[in-house]
Amino acid sequence: MNFYAPFTLPFIIGTIILFIVLAWKYVSWFVALTHEDKRLVAKGVPSLATLRSVWEVVRESLLHVRIFRIDPRLGYMHMSLALGWFLLIAVGWIETMAYMGFAPVPLQGHVFFKYFAAQGVVTEHKPYFDFVMDLLLAFVLSGVALAWFKRFSSRSLGMRRATKHTTGDRLAMSFLWFIFPLRLVAESITVALYGGGSFLTGSCGSLLASIFGERLLSYAFEPAWWLYSIALGGFFVAMPFSRYMHIFTEIPLIFLRNYRLRPREEKGAIDYFEVQSCSRCGICIDPCQLQADLGIHDVQSVYFLRDRRYNMLKQSVANNCLMCGRCEAVCPVGINLNTLRLNSRALMRNIPNERRYGYFRDIDRSEGSGKVGYFAGCMTLLTPRTMSAMERIFEAVGDQVWWADRQGSVCCGRPLKLSGETDSAHKMMEFNRSLFHKHGITTLVTSCPICLKTFKEDYALEHIEVLHHSEYIERLIASGRLVLERGDVRYAYHDPCELGRGGGIYDAPRTVIEAVGELAEAEHNRRNALCCGSSLANTAITDGQQLKLASRVTDELEATGAATIVTSCPLCKKALQRTAKGGVRDLAEVVAEALPRK
């Protein structure tokens, strides 16, 4: 059989370009990986991680399990396109082989087999193949129809807002959308002229024949295949430069991630895999409170990654993010959105200067001594109620406490890190680390989740256990050292971002609240909890905007009917206090109040 026809040229050229670009990108990214990362890859390839990755590729790149969890309609749309197309290719391949045996068949032979085999011999399994292929085509077409429908009414697919795409993306998308309808047309005409086909192409073919007549269709036969080929070729050329780069990139990313490669504080080659794995599906847009409550539409992770990928990232976009992590929690690709945003900020703002923050030398305003250290954090100095509650709790259990910063000290460094000034942040971390070690503490308790996160992730404290005060209190209760009187007050708990999504601490504060009263859960809680709006990570929004975000949160917390809102972050407390009608308390306060009276 001759597998050459002029109309296949656009497809062939497109495919060649696609593979050259892909190869060039992947090879150059891989070469640029750090030495350490390459070592991890070498160690990971012969391990179980590879198998795990294959399974994950099937689940996420083909079945899109995570999107199904967010919304089944959306999941079906993504699955039908990915899995459907994959199966079309796979089954097409088998079909070719069923015809030709293991004879070498060029690529276009597989793809346009219907064309080349139209006048060939009819084998006994052809009807089965025709049926399966029609079924798959129908499957994909249903996905295309949904995607098309989503453009007009994203809400009906479970998304309040869809991504606003660039012109390039729209072009690529148009090619994609045309591929399958054109394939249907080309195959239907072929079937109408030469027979074959099944329920879809067969009936479409008959329909076309009855409308236009065979003569007309025979004129349309070649052009239809041409158009199909052009759509395919066009899409392939556009693919590596558009959002569809994600189709392939997600696969190596899954492997690399299973080999424990992660984006870091500074930009690295692994970031390319992460950034270009974004399909711009826009699932990150809905959870973004800046979008939902403030109507800011151009800073969400999808746009951030897009701008970063095309080197048009502006500080105003990079800075305008609460880093609450709500988008990261739902990203179907699992992109490390916060880390990427951080290292983008660092690239723009980190200007190392040895002389800066030289004033840290010899500062030590700490008080007391003990194995337990308490680091209030800058913000807690403005919520003295929390601090005096902690003092009473320490007193009640008789722990000797070293107060690190009651008289003010150096910041933990996280705020500067969040703003991208990594080098300066490290100076603070270095200072505090040596301060902690100097005073010989074995446990470090902090009531500020912002400090907590950086102590845990950046400080590498040896022989010092870092605890959030909720964890510390939970332990005291569990060990029986702290006996509390349980009341019948209902408390609505607000999860601070840095503690919950940022530190994975959801249960400790809840356990503690249940030890003193009744816990009420807000509509959005735990992984889906809302941000109070005052996040240190965002330096772009105004006071009024912060207030608006906070009022949404207090509304939701107050809707539980609980009289008091409890949180475990001084910043959240301050933020929510502004709009709450009842009281806003820190976890420590309610615990201190439940201490048995002497």
Binding site: Q315, N319, M348, R349, I351, N353, R356, Y357, Y359, F360, I363, C378, M379, L381, L382, G408, S409, V410, C411, G413, P415, L416, L418, S419, E421, S424, M428, S534, L536, T539, A540, I541, T542, D543, G544, L571, K574
Partner: protein, 111 residues
């Protein structure tokens, strides 16, 4: 023109000369963050300042000088700030103080 050394320099005036100062950057800063104009100079920011507690850093004064077009030293001065955000929690006019620090650093550091 040869500059002759007579063993002393000519003292620069201490006056904030609005006519002579180039207010372009100040204008740019105020355009991006108009709320900075609403500062009533209560000093809450400086009083609570974590860095000001340890150094002579005075956020209120530095941004006031920058607004008047006195940029000399402001960039390095702002680099004493730890961005901890206490000031933002206190400002009675709701000024985005951390944003101001970052904006001034960006404008005066030229990045």
């Amino acid at each position: 023109m040869a500059s002759v050394n007579f063993g002393f320099g000519i003292s620069k005036p201490r006056v904030i000369d609005i006519d002579r100062n180039n207010l372009r950057k100040s204008d740019e800063i105020l355009l991006e963050m108009p709320e900075l104009q609403t500062c009533i100079g209560c000093g809450s920011c400086t009083a609570s300042c974590t860095a000001g507690n340890l150094t002579s850093f005075n956020f209120r004064k530095v941004h006031a000088l920058v607004r008047r077009g006195e940029y000399a030293g402001a960039y390095e001065e702002m680099n004493k700030c730890m961005l901890c955000g206490k000031c933002r929690l206190l400002c009675p006019r709701g000024i985005n103080t951390r944003g101001v620090v970052m904006l001034i650093k960006r404008k005066l550091g030229d990045f």
